[in-house]
Symmetry: C2
Subunit: 86 residues, 2 copies
């Protein structure tokens, strides 16, 4: 993702890239209503692509961030499966 898009996302900047991510999340919300599997997969792919782009632009390693926080346990209750009651 970095190799394909970084030059462009960097020019767009953090706020511009974040706004694209928000738009993609809205499109995912629309796709959820249609229940068309292909649309859904497309929109999930777009959201994660923009999330990865945003992480690149801000210098965050998305995979590491996720693994550090969610290391196969819920980060709040430390159980798996999660036993939080909220």
């Amino acid at each position: 993702m970095r190799r394909v898009y970084f030059h462009r996302d960097f020019k767009r900047g953090i706020k511009g890239t974040y706004n694209w991510l928000v738009d993609e999340v809205k499109e995912l919300g629309e796709a959820l209503k249609t229940n068309n599997k292909e649309d859904l997969e497309n929109e999930f792919a777009d959201v994660i692509a923009w999330l990865a782009s945003l992480a690149n632009v801000t210098g965050v390693d998305l995979e590491n961030a996720a693994l550090n926080k969610y290391d196969n346990k819920c980060p709040k209750c430390r159980h798996s499966p999660c036993q939080c009651t909220f």
Copy 2:
């Protein structure tokens, strides 16, 4: 992610899980303004965690969906780096 949260997300349902995702994206937007690296990593982790939960609840394989669409090339122009002009 499936093992830790599926039982809970399934009860919450698609719409409820989507709404959580939207909230986490907003929190990420707030963290972007502070420029605190630890906050940022936390919020990125939360967004991807909820995205993965939503994918589980809707029966989408998030990793496959992303790899199918973004196989190291831009899905629109088919180049890497992307050469789209929008």
